[in-house]
Subunit: 218 residues, 2 copies
């Protein structure tokens, strides 16, 4: 039977899922902005991160209020605290998409991404989107099997990240230092974005099973 | 008047302060390991991060247990939840020190740090230490004036971070791509370490004043 408290918990879930949608869209646009040197798209990502922050702040306030007024215990308390953690990871994913967009903006009208790494960055962007899509589905469906898939996707992200360094360090690299710095930072942003998506999925597993694996060691 | 609950909250504070000491020592040793290409020191940072993780896990369990059994409200609830946030930031600072140590280890027996950026990295290391020392003092003394000083130290960190990029991009840079990648990542680790120290200090302000500034935009 549902009650007011559980309706409020469900509303929190809806907001977390909404955050996954926003940070997915942000990273998707940031990737395109980076590859196509699209300033307008980059600006849209940068300005719209405020919306993610706004939802996050509202989520935190609601959770604090819920805890203060309803004094949840056991599973309900765990859910409320875990929703705080998830919200903070998703907020950070929005920041990371914004960082990618800022690199695109900084190098406009040039692209920060030379041809040799274009495909790798595109793939990292696709995996980032796939990860956060699954994260959203995990939250909605409390799906712990799906949560495990994210670990595999994250391994794929790490593999691409290493490939990026191999290109930068190959003797054919002809673009000098500045693009190497941009790509090093960009790679780091995608990798961290993926780590946070995995953390959120692990929180779903924790909510469902009550036990937690150690945090991902990057 | 003190009671069992507040004794437990004080014990949480002690553990947070202990974490500031460990992550300060870790970053201090990581900086030396990086500059001096000291493999043994780098290994000590890497292996001892498990101790930070262990304290953090214990802290989290204690807070969950405290919340479940004591059902704190109002200020006590805020304190318990904020201690969770602080613990997670400090745990992350340990990871970042470990990342710096891993760069030192990867380049051993060479130093990852060419002479031109040695002083800047040393200064970043010193500011990192100063920040976390103040963070610890803020926690102990609930000192909101000191918390404000961290913002200034963090500005100094950002200034050094920009200086690092100027050196990498100067036409005198003769060390090629690999050290540029190492230094880009290292700079990022110090900068993030500082951001997390500032977040913890802001949490102290929040606990004392009950209101929160927006999160630092990096």
């Amino acid at each position: 039977m549902r009650d007011a408290f559980h309706d409020e918990l469900n509303a929190l879930t809806d907001r977390l899922v909404e955050m996954t949608r926003l940070v997915r869209s942000a990273m998707s646009r940031a990737t395109t902005a980076l590859i196509d040197a699209d300033l307008q798209l980059a600006e849209s990502v940068i300005s719209q991160d405020a919306e993610v922050d706004r939802i996050h702040a509202g989520l935190e306030s609601s959770i604090y209020e819920l805890m203060a007024t309803q004094q949840p215990v056991a599973v309900d308390l765990r859910t409320a605290i875990t929703a705080l953690r998830m919200g903070s990871d998703l907020e950070r994913m929005g920041d990371l998409a914004e960082h990618v967009a800022k690199i695109a903006r900084m190098r406009h009208p040039e692209s920060a991404i030379p041809a040799e790494v274009r495909d790798t960055i595109l793939e990292m962007g696709q995996i980032a989107e796939r990860l956060v899509t699954k994260t959203g589905a995990c939250i909605v469906g409390q799906d712990i099997e799906l949560a495990k898939e994210l670990e595999t996707d994250d391994d794929e992200m790490d593999r691409l990240h290493r490939r990026l360094f191999r290109v930068l360090l190959s003797k054919n690299w002809s673009h000098g230092i500045e693009p190497a710095i941009d790509i090093t930072l960009t790679g780091r942003y995608y990798e961290r974005y993926a780590d946070h998506a995995v953390r959120v999925a692990r929180d779903v597993v924790y909510l469902v099973t009550g036990s937690r694996d150690p945090d991902p060691s990057e």
